[in-house]
Symmetry: C2
Subunit: 338 residues, 2 copies
């Protein structure tokens, strides 16, 4: 008999969750009161919130027969939230967690969720970040919401709006791997037949690896604009373009180099890996603009340049020309698109 | 034709939400980047998170024929989150909001949600608090999660753990009104036949009125312990008892005085109003312990005293005796209880 959520009281379930939550150095008062208290040493708190919904953002059972474990969903919740803080040039200080759980959810799934959340936080390099509290609700589908706070450590935030013509455009972290992994999960292809590269893509979709040291490093290197690539390179690049009132010109060879890393997965599915590079989200890498004089920090890969909006036909170009033939076009992930 | 969420892109829906969100004085960077930035003047940030789930915490259509409007759900989201900050003796600084929305949700419902959230924040006295950002997801039922931050303004927080034998026990705000309102909503009784007191209870269930000035006032008056009565007086009192390792003795006459305010609703439904006083949640009043020497701030109503755990049979007593006959007993609201 699998123990399910409906068989425990809220207090009993919390007693299983709390010991599995990581306590970092930033927590002044932890779970157990009406609210937690977090250190904000430079008198500012960065804050963001992200949600995953069952059968929208993850599946308990995928078409290829694999499962999203509680550990995976907890890992991704941590990764996508920590990435939002990273993309401001900040370091995470705390998370508060809301879980909406159907009664039949196995208690072990919830325990593994807490373990995945904590494991990702430590493994990705955010060990100072504390799990500071949360809320439990019943519902008909699993909904996981995490709000995360961060500290700028006295630095200025790196916004989307600071890119200037002449800046170099660079990415850090994976681009398109999560999209390849998602496509593999949604395909009928047996995971036992995945090559190592394909298995890695599936793993990066389940457990993204945002480069958490890179956000503060980019800020220190003088990045003029930065954001988390969560909805796809083109869509997120468009956000920098719009916020900064500039256009972005990609280097076609650099995009092809990123696509080559996805070649095995693409061939197995008969798809174009460039589409994953351009429109795949959820890798939670960083897209940054740096002044031409800046030295790119370790891990950044140059993929183009910022140009004046007047000199660009569409705001986003490759080698000065409009995009052609990339399936998906300029659209990335939209939660309500049909 | 009602415009529904599925007919808009995420960007279009956000464009309808953002102008309806209140901007307070505490926001250093608002929505539109990867994260927001909030002022934390005393280098500490108080944080909490709360969720409402459709058909668990609210109904789009109630058995008595009335509806939870988007405005109501937004109001309650603000009220319950602001109350958590109040209960620490702090003032709210920001909210981040996650909305999980089924495609058929009317866009007007979402707009009204944002309006209710903002209206409650201002009307309840938290105008300094900013709506700092959020996340939209698709799903099969509406799930609303708000995380809220606050500032202690240099004060020490008032925890659940500081009550001492000899302290006076007092409440501020409504007790049992939301439970009465909920029972009326769940009953077949036509709202058109409600008396003024019954209509007020239904309104207080839909739009709770947490006494937001009272938390900081209680802290300044030297409160030794405090919490938000969200799950019912007995259950929440038990939390102070457990955290403080004390027992609580209620004044039977004071409890009856609170019950009398619910008499009309109780008579209409043939129920005992004392049960609502003891186990009704969601009014988001405060339960406080004050040293005997303290002057109770305006709005606080004395309902008993803190006694040593050794002198009490069960940890919670009335006039020194165990509770008897109160339906619901010592149990308040549990999200997973059958």
């Amino acid at each position: 008999m699998t123990l399910i959520v409906a068989q425990l009281s809220e207090t009993e379930l919390l007693a299983r969750i709390f010991p599995r939550l990581h306590s970092g150095t930033s927590m002044l008062l932890g779970p157990g009161d009406d609210a937690a208290i977090i250190a904000a040493p430079d008198a500012r708190t960065v804050i963001s919130i992200d949600t995953q919904v069952q059968d929208k953002d993850f599946r308990l059972l995928w078409p290829n027969g694999s499962a999203s474990s509680g550990f995976d969903v907890g890992w991704k919740a941590a990764a996508q939230n920590l990435s939002d803080i990273n993309a401001m040039g900040a370091v995470a200080t705390a998370m508060v967690i809301s879980l909406t759980l159907p009664g039949p959810t196995p208690v072990s799934w919830v325990e593994e969720f807490a373990e995945g959340l904590s494991a990702a936080t430590v493994a990705l390099g955010a060990g100072q970040c504390s799990m500071a509290g949360g809320d439990l609700s019943g519902g008909n589908e699993i909904v996981v919401t995490v709000a995360v706070t961060g500290s700028l450590q006295g630095r200025q935030p790196v916004l989307r709006s600071g890119a200037k013509p002449g800046d170099r455009l660079a990415v850090c972290g994976n681009v398109g791997q999560a999209a390849a992994g998602w496509a593999l999960q949604e395909s009928p292809l047996d995971p036992a037949r995945h090559t190592a590269a394909m298995a890695a893509a599936a793993q990066l979709f389940a457990r993204p690896q945002p480069p958490l040291a890179a956000g503060p490093a980019a800020a220190l290197a003088g990045a003029s604009a930065m954001l988390d690539i969560s909805d796809g390179l083109l869509r997120d690049a468009g956000r920098i373009g719009t916020a900064s009132a500039v256009a972005l010109d990609f280097d076609g060879q650099a995009l092809q180099a990123l696509a080559e890393k996805l070649r095995e997965s693409a061939n197995a599915l008969g798809l174009d890996p460039l589409a994953w590079v351009l429109t795949g989200g959820e890798d939670h890498g960083l897209l940054c603009a740096f002044p031409a004089s800046a030295t790119l920090p370790a891990g950044f890969f140059e993929i183009g340049s910022v140009v004046s909006f007047e000199s660009s036909a569409t705001g986003l170009t490759v080698d000065g020309r409009n995009f052609e033939g990339a399936s998906g076009g300029a659209r990335g992930w939209d939660h309500f698109a049909v």
